[in-house]
C-alpha cells in the first residue's frame, strides 16, 4: 500500500494540545472512528489522527467504499459498560473539539453563500470591499491577469437632472415630524440640522453631473469635496509602480 498523503489544504488546525489528546486517545483507548481518504490516498478527514498514528507506529487497514454504505467499525474488545469505552466516547468528541478550523483555508475555498448552506458562521465584518455589487466584474476564467485596477469612476456623457443627485425623502420625513412637535425653536433647529445626515447622495450621478458642468460649478463642487480628482493620475500611475516593486520583490523572494 502506498503511503497516505496529508491533505495539502487541511481545514483543521491541530495545535499541540490537540495532538497530545489525540495521542492519549490512541494510547489509552486504541483507534476509534478511524480516518477517511480519497482514491488518491489523500486524507479527507483525520489528518491529525493519522499524524499521531504514524508516530505510534499503528498499522493501517484500508476499507474501500463508494460512499453508498456506512462503515461501522466494531471494537471487539469493548463492552458498553467498560471504562475504556466511556473514555473513548469522551475522547472521540473532545479531540475534535480541541482542533479548530483554519478559517483562511475555508474562506479561500468556499463562497459566503456556500458556507451559509452549511450554517457555517464567519465574521464577515471585513467584507465591505469598497465596490458596488453592480460594478463587480464578471468572473473570468483566466487565472493569470496582469490587469491592475484602481477605483476610478468613468463619468457618463449625459448630465443627470439635479433631482437624481440626492434623495431627500428621509430628511423631509424627519423635518415634518420635527416641525409639528412642541419643541423649542432651538431644539428644532438642531434636529433639522441633524436630519441632514439622512440625505442620501448618489456620488456616481454627482460625478456625471460634475463632468458635464462648466468650470465655475466644478470648482464649487470640488470645494465641497463632491468628487475626488486624481490629479496627473497619481493614484493609478503610483499603484502601477507600487505593483511593479512588489512583483520584483516577489521574484527575488521566490526566484521565479
Amino acid at each position: 500500500m502506498s503511503e497516505l498523503k496529508f491533505d495539502p489544504k487541511n481545514y483543521r488546525i491541530h495545535g499541540e494540545k490537540n495532538k497530545r489528546l489525540i495521542q492519549k486517545s490512541l494510547v489509552d483507548c486504541g483507534a476509534g472512528r478511524s480516518i477517511l481518504i480519497d482514491k488518491e490516498d489523500c486524507i479527507i478527514a483525520g489528518n491529525g489522527v493519522y499524524e499521531q498514528a504514524q508516530e505510534l507506529g499503528l498499522k493501517i487497514r484500508i476499507i474501500e467504499s463508494d460512499g453508498a454504505e456506512l462503515i461501522a467499525i466494531k471494537r471487539t474488545d469493548l463492552k458498553t459498560g467498560d471504562a475504556r469505552r466511556k473514555a473513548l466516547a469522551l475522547a472521540d468528541n473532545h479531540t475534535n473539539d480541541t482542533s479548530v478550523f483554519d478559517m483562511e483555508a475555508v474562506m479561500e475555498d468556499f463562497t459566503p453563500n456556500e458556507l451559509d448552506l452549511w450554517e457555517f458562521s464567519i465574521d464577515v465584518s471585513s467584507l465591505d470591499i469598497g465596490v458596488e455589487s453592480e460594478n463587480k466584474e464578471t468572473s473570468n476564467n483566466n487565472l493569470y491577469t496582469n490587469k491592475i485596477t484602481t477605483p476610478e469612476y468613468l463619468p457618463k456623457n449625459e448630465k443627470p437632472v439635479i433631482s437624481d443627485l440626492f434623495d431627500m425623502d428621509k430628511y423631509n420625513e424627519l423635518v415634518s415630524k420635527i416641525e409639528i412637535s412642541n419643541l423649542s425653536n432651538e431644539d428644532k433647529k438642531f434636529l433639522v440640522c441633524a436630519a441632514s445626515r439622512h440625505i442620501v447622495f448618489n456620488y456616481e450621478k454627482i460625478a456625471d453631473f460634475y463632468a458635464n458642468s462648466d468650470k465655475e460649478v466644478q470648482e464649487l463642487m470640488e470645494d465641497s469635496a463632491l468628487v475626488i480628482i486624481d490629479f496627473d493620475s497619481a493614484m493609478s500611475k503610483g499603484f502601477v509602480k507600487l505593483t511593479q516593486a512588489i512583483d520584483e520583490q516577489y521574484d527575488i523572494d521566490h526566484e521565479e
Binding site: E108, S125, G130, Y153, A225, L226, M235
Partner: protein
C-alpha cells in the same frame, strides 16, 4: 528600510507573551523601528516592559477617550480605537512622520499574486522593500491612509473580489499606514475601522487597500456552536449599528444568509463616498 522617518506601531493589550506580529515582522526581514503601544490601564504593562524594554510606549487611555466620539456611553474601554487615535500623538512625540498601525495577532505577511498575476499565497522575505514601496506610493498621493489586505478579504479565493487581480479598494482595516501630516480621527468604540473609512471618506478623503499583499491573522473559530456562535453573531449585530449611527445615509442593517440567518451591516458605496475621477474631466 530606505525610509528612515518610519516606524511600526504594534497596538496590543493584556498579552505580552502573544505579540505574534513582532516575531512575524522579524521573520519577514523587517529592520526598521518597532514600538509596542500599550495603554495605562493594562495590568500587564510591566511584563511588556520586561519583554520589549524601551520599545514600549504607554498612552493615557482615559485622556484619549476624551478627545474623540466613542459613539456610546458605556465606559468600557476594552477596544483598539483608543490606541489607534493615540498613535498620531505618539508619532509626533517620537519625531516620526510616517507610521503603520498593526494589531498584535499577525502570523505572517504574504504576497497574494505572483509577478505574472496568478493568485496564490506566498510569504514575504524582505518586508523592508515592501514597506518602502508602500511609503513611496503613499507619499506621492493625497490619501489619508493605505493598508494591506487581510486574509478575510480573500473569501472565495481566486473567484472572490480580492482574488481576481491586483486592485485598489476604498476600504482600510488593520494595517493603517499613516502620517502625522495627514491626521484623522477614528470614531466609534466598536467597528472603528468601518466607521472611520466611511465617515472620513464621505468628506472627500481617501483610504485605500491593496489586494497585492496581505496579513494573516490568528484564526478565530466562529463556528463552535452554542454561546460562542450566539455571542459572535450578536457581537456582529451590535458592531454593525455603530456604522449605521455614523453613516445613516449609506449604511443599513440587513439580514444575511439563507440558512443561517443573522444581521450585518451593508454599505451602499455609491452613496457613501465621493468617487475618484480622472483629471481629464476637469474643465481648464
Amino acid at each position: 528600510m530606505k525610509n528612515k522617518d518610519f516606524a511600526v506601531f504594534i497596538l496590543t493589550h493584556g498579552r505580552p507573551t502573544k505579540v505574534h506580529t513582532y516575531s512575524s515582522l522579524l521573520k519577514c526581514g523587517y529592520t526598521g523601528r518597532i514600538y509596542i503601544v500599550i495603554d495605562n490601564e493594562d495590568i500587564q504593562a510591566e511584563a511588556y516592559k520586561q519583554a520589549y524594554g524601551d520599545k514600549v510606549i504607554v498612552f493615557d487611555k482615559k485622556a484619549i477617550s476624551d478627545t474623540f466620539d466613542e459613539g456610546d456611553n458605556f465606559e468600557d474601554r476594552r477596544a483598539i480605537v483608543y490606541a489607534r487615535n493615540a498613535c498620531f500623538e505618539i508619532a509626533k512625540n517620537l519625531g516620526i512622520k510616517y507610521f503603520m498601525q498593526l494589531d498584535d495577532d499577525y502570523t505572517a505577511f504574504s504576497y497574494r499574486f505572483t509577478s505574472k498575476g496568478k493568485y496564490l499565497h506566498r510569504s514575504m522575505k524582505n518586508i523592508d522593500v515592501i514597506f518602502d514601496a508602500m511609503l513611496d506610493y503613499y507619499k506621492t498621493i493625497n490619501v489619508k491612509s493605505i493598508a494591506m489586505a487581510q486574509s478575510g478579504d480573500f473569501i472565495g479565493g481566486e473567484n472572490g473580489q480580492f482574488g481576481k487581480g491586483r486592485k485598489l479598494f476604498r476600504k482600510c482595516m488593520n494595517t493603517f499606514l499613516c502620517s502625522t501630516d495627514r491626521p484623522f480621527q477614528f470614531v466609534g468604540r466598536i467597528n472603528e475601522d468601518v466607521n472611520t473609512y466611511t465617515n472620513v471618506q464621505s468628506r472627500g478623503n481617501v483610504f485605500l487597500t491593496l489586494s497585492n499583499i496581505a496579513i494573516n491573522q490568528l484564526s478565530t473559530q466562529s463556528n463552535s456552536g452554542g454561546m460562542t456562535e450566539l455571542y459572535l453573531d450578536s457581537g456582529t449585530y451590535v458592531k454593525s449599528f455603530y456604522t449605521v449611527m455614523y453613516a445613516p445615509s449609506c449604511c443599513k442593517i440587513v439580514p444575511m444568509g439563507e440558512t443561517h440567518r443573522r444581521l450585518h451591516h451593508r454599505i451602499s458605496w455609491k452613496n457613501a463616498v465621493p468617487v475618484i475621477i480622472n483629471e481629464s474631466h476637469k474643465k481648464k
